[in-house]
């Protein structure tokens, strides 16, 4: 059955909630430094609510039983919670929770309005593909150097920290530069930090290979319209896969038949292997749809 594309309002609401939460954390930090009472949630630091802090301190924790500077137990606990969530559903943290990803996405909406179909397609595949692995190099560099130095080196170029603590003298010029470039880049490329540089996204991306809930495409009902490819913020070739295990998937659900895919039960997140008794009839309907819709290229 063909249906119109829906808006992902639930994801948008979740993104806004987490974005507002981080703004509140940032505001409370500022209020605390000014001697004012924090509002609602106390004044945890930005590092305390970032699960990547748990990742960079993992070596120090297991070898010395301590966290590195500026990292708190809450980061470590959050790390395990996010790992659980990711093992189940893939990098939901990236697509739904991370406030920096949300900012990139919001700016991307402006870019999409300006450049229309050219948006998110500026970088040639030859350059784009290898660049996607850069974030793994950054992940290794960050984890190894943090283990050696015992310092939170990542905050020196972390655009998330720079954005949400921009008023602080702790923010380095380098991180402001990275932030500026990322925000400008978001006008041309969707989620440039997530795609090419984010070490935490790299780590969570690995879970895509063995996550419990998988993104599956029903080849028999798929009409090959490539709408899934076009809406994917991470430019994954969904229309050619049976099960999407790309390390860049952020579980945003934009491609699924809940939002973009026009054919019901053709592309969805499934917990168990699909055994659809009406597959034959769906094949028929898929075939009929294929006849009526011309597939579009990316």
């Amino acid at each position: 059955m063909i249906k119109n594309q829906k808006k992902d309002l639930i994801r948008l609401a979740v993104q806004i909630c987490f974005f507002a939460l981080i703004i509140l954390v940032s505001l409370n930090q500022w209020r605390s430094e000014q001697g004012l009472t924090p509002l609602l949630i106390g004044s945890p630091s930005l590092h305390a609510v970032c699960p990547f802090g748990g990742v960079v301190t993992i070596y120090t924790y297991f070898t010395e039983g301590a966290f590195i500077q500026k990292i708190h137990q809450s980061s470590f606990t959050l790390m395990w919670l996010i790992f659980s969530l990711t093992l189940l559903l893939g990098p939901v943290f990236c697509g739904w929770v991370c406030p920096f990803g949300t900012v990139e996405e919001f700016i991307g909406k402006i870019g999409r309005k300006i450049f229309k179909k050219r948006y998110n397609n500026f970088i040639p595949s030859v350059i784009d593909k290898p660049l996607r692995y850069l974030r793994y190099i950054i992940l290794m560099l960050v984890v190894v150097n943090t283990a050696i130095s015992g310092k939170l080196l990542f905050s020196n170029f972390d655009p998330y920290f720079a954005l949400f603590k921009i008023w602080s003298s702790e923010v380095t010029r380098l991180s402001l530069l990275v932030l500026g470039l990322t925000l400008i880049g978001s006008l041309f490329v969707e989620r440039p930090w997530c795609k090419y540089l984010c070490p935490y996204g790299a780590l969570l991306g690995i879970f895509n290979f063995f996550r419990i809930v998988k993104l599956k495409r029903n080849e028999k009902t798929c009409i090959n319209c490539k709408k899934c490819d076009r809406v994917c913020p991470m430019n994954i070739d969904i229309s050619t896969s049976k099960t999407v295990t790309d390390h860049q998937c952020i579980s945003c659900l934009l491609c699924t038949d809940e939002i973009a895919c026009p054919v019901s039960n053709s592309l969805s997140f499934s917990l168990l292997e699909r055994k659809n008794p009406t597959e034959n009839s769906e094949t028929d309907s898929g075939a009929k749809i294929k006849e009526s819709i011309s597939g579009g290229g990316k």
Partner: protein, 241 residues
């Protein structure tokens, strides 16, 4: 089973929200740090883990380096409160200096190098290659440098300058927590003892807060107020009235 947005929303609420609640109950979700630095294999507190948030009193407690040594070696005001002065406060006192490698700020790493030399605890800094002249002289006067160290550090000094020229001479100084501009200003780090030292009477304290002065007067006034369920922002300004 097909997973939809609503299921993901529920998973986020249950796993992240529920996980945080459960971890809080099990005391596994602290957003503040244990302040003690980690120890080396020899069982002494590691200089590398000295933090900007450590006060001079904590440095004394963990590293057995007296607060008066740091105060003297860095030319801080003699009445600096070791219980309140954090190492990172130094960057608000001293002017950044231009060195070969670029701008250098006297802060936590400077104290780490000083501590390492003073106490003979190994520490290799990747940012401090120069020390204030005053600090090097203090180390030499106290016979803390070997011949080789002395030769190196005497050739790698810079002159300390204060951001505020009145830092040493002013009767009160804003960076020593209680500010005196147009009356008393209570900040998040002001202790109850400091309020009393400023001249706040027991009666005034009770009138403003509705509580008697606690026995522990070195606790921050803000923590005391929050513990009592009051609004710090509202209460603190009443002292200035």
């Amino acid at each position: 089973m097909k997973i939809k947005s609503i299921h993901i929303l529920l998973a986020i609420i249950i796993i992240i929200g529920g996980g945080i609640l459960l971890a809080s109950e099990l005391d596994l979700y602290n957003t503040t740090r244990v302040k003690s630095p980690r120890k080396t294999a020899e069982g002494i507190y590691d200089v590398i883990d000295m933090r900007g948030s450590h006060t001079l009193e904590e440095i004394e407690k963990y590293y057995q380096l007296s607060a008066s040594s740091v105060i003297e070696a860095f030319g801080l005001r003699p009445e600096t409160n070791p219980n309140l002065f954090q190492l990172k406060d130094m960057k608000e006192i001293f002017t950044p200096v231009e060195l070969e490698e670029g701008e250098y700020i006297v802060e936590t790493d400077t104290v780490k190098v000083f501590t390492s030399l003073y106490l003979k605890i190994p520490y290799v800094s990747d940012e401090t290659f120069y020390l204030p002249e005053k600090t090097v002289n203090y180390l030499i006067e106290n016979d803390k440098l070997t011949g080789e160290e002395k030769e190196y550090w005497q050739g790698h000094t810079f002159k300390l300058e204060y951001l505020d020229s009145k830092y040493l001479t002013a009767s009160e100084f804003s960076k020593i927590v209680v500010e005196e501009a147009e009356g008393l200003i209570v900040t998040g780090r002001t202790t109850i003892q400091e309020l009393l030292d400023y001249g706040i009477t027991e009666e005034k304290f009770e009138e403003v807060t509705g509580f008697k002065i606690p026995d522990k007067k070195l606790v921050s006034f803000r923590d005391f107020i929050i513990d009592k369920g009051l609004e710090f922002g509202e209460v603190k300004d009443k002292f200035a009235e």
